[in-house]
């Protein structure tokens, strides 16, 4: 009987698979850092490492730890380490972003009218050197430098990797550099601040060879900036023959149109939503 029991016990022991070693990984590792996964005792089999940008597989021979190079964990996120021999054991670990080292900076728009409240937005995304978003708080320093020498800066902490500001455009037309920096890294974008809508649009008329010539004074916005050449100014004439509109682009700061006039006429001017003065003129001379 004793022999039978011994034989049964021996059979049971030999029939059981070898207990797989447990894997132990640090629970929190910085991206790009070398580290080791330890095993209870020594083991052999096939090791797998699966992560956001990683899928590694290699054989392990009688090892008590498995070295993982930093190049295998450059992408932040959850990883799974698996060791398979007769059965598979696994462990999870998290790789967090390294220190902030880069910025992604979005600035809009690239052209903006002057003196417009909250017209410019700048959004900075804090990244590490492997382009992982850095979720921990980092201070981003936004600075604005105009061509005319004026500058301003503002520090804004990131919230879940993002910091943003809104800016009011300057009163004078100029190009402005908007920069964001974190640590040693600075990203810069250029915004053109251009004249706004025309302001105090004013026309005058004169006769040239029996044709009425209507032209504007130099067209400026309310801050005194010249409205860009090419901006369309509309002249509208109402006389006995009906209503006629002539669109003329601004050239060298002035828009000009020639119009035939029958009898008495009324001339008005507009640019965009801005209306100018009206002229009442007599018939052709």
């Amino acid at each position: 009987m004793r022999t039978v029991i011994t034989w049964l016990l021996c059979s049971l022991v030999t029939a059981m698979p070898a207990a797989a070693a447990e894997l132990h990984a640090p629970k929190d590792i910085a991206a790009g850092t070398d580290f080791s996964i330890t095993l209870d005792g020594s083991s052999q089999g096939t090791f797998y490492l699966i992560g956001p940008a990683t899928a590694k597989k290699h054989a392990v021979e009688n090892a008590s730890e498995i070295s993982v190079p930093g190049t295998d964990i450059e992408k932040a996120g959850n990883y799974q380490a698996i060791l398979c021999s007769s059965e598979c054991v696994s462990t999870d670990f998290y790789v967090h972003a390294a220190e902030p080292d880069r910025l992604s900076l979005l600035v809009h728009p690239s052209r903006v009218p002057v003196a417009t409240t909250n017209a410019i937005s700048a959004v900075a995304i804090a990244l590490d050197r492997f382009h992982n978003m850095v979720f921990s708080r980092a201070d981003v320093n936004f600075s604005v430098n105009s061509n005319n020498g004026s500058s301003a800066s503002h520090a804004q902490p990131t919230n879940r990797g993002i910091a943003w500001i809104r800016l009011t455009s300057a009163a004078k037309a100029s190009s402005t550099k908007i920069s964001a920096s974190v640590g040693e890294t600075t990203e810069t974008r250029v915004v053109e601040q251009v004249a706004s809508e025309a302001c105090h649009l004013h026309i005058k008329s004169s006769w040239q060879a029996n044709r009425l010539v209507v032209e504007t004074d130099p067209v400026r916005d309310c801050s005194g900036n010249n409205v860009p050449d090419g901006t369309v100014v509309s002249f509208t004439k109402t006389d006995a023959s009906g209503k006629t509109t002539v669109d003329a682009p601004i050239k060298k700061g002035i828009a000009k149109a020639e119009m035939p006039v029958v009898g008495h006429a009324r001339i008005s001017v507009a640019s965009g939503v801005v209306l100018g003065n009206e002229l009442n003129v007599g018939g052709a001379r």
């Binding site: 096939t46 899928a55 979005l106 909250n118």
Partner: protein, 173 residues
């Protein structure tokens, strides 16, 4: 003999149809834009973002299962795309593939840029993941993962620009 052939053909058609239908189905996505700041999510955007995010996941799960990086082109861009392409390349080299069963996503908009060109979303995803070496399943587990997602508008759709799981977000359920 004919009857057996017909039966076999019917089974084959059903198998192909089921594969096709599972490959075509996109996951359920709930969308909450109420917490969006500083810009409110527009009605049309609140429809297009969850729709495009669902398509992105549908394409990604198929790409990771079949090791086909070209499936990422439609809805992924930037670092999200390059990371997944790298993973698929390594999966193919190692003879691995990963099969996700997607039980749905709950999206919560955290940030929507003033100009509407960037949206940061937190995704609470319910998944089952199987890692396969060839045809052998080496790991299978249910997961609840929180992702931080960056999406940007493209010509006619929203694209996933970054997809990162967050710390301590992964748990078997």
């Amino acid at each position: 003999m004919k009857r057996s052939l017909r039966l076999l053909a019917a089974v084959a058609v059903l198998f192909v149809a089921s594969r096709y239908s599972s490959a075509q189905s996109s996951p359920a996505v709930e969308f909450n834009g109420a917490n969006s700041s500083p810009r409110a999510v527009e009605d049309l955007t609140s429809q297009s973002v969850p729709r495009d995010y669902a398509f992105a996941w549908q394409n990604m799960t198929q790409a990771l299962d079949e090791n086909r990086p070209e499936l990422l082109d439609a809805y992924f861009t930037g670092f999200a795309k390059s990371s997944l392409e790298q993973r698929i390349k390594e999966q193919a080299q190692a003879g691995l593939h990963v099969r996700y069963t997607d039980h749905g996503h709950k999206l919560n908009v955290l940030f929507y840029s003033p100009n509407g060109d960037l949206m940061q979303i937190e995704d609470d995803a319910q998944l089952e993941m199987q890692i396969l070496d060839g045809s052998k399943v080496i790991q299978s587990q249910p997961l609840r993962v929180r992702y931080m997602v960056l999406m940007t508008p493209g010509a006619d759709r929203w694209m996933v620009r970054d997809l990162e799981s967050t710390p301590a977000s992964r748990s078997g359920e």
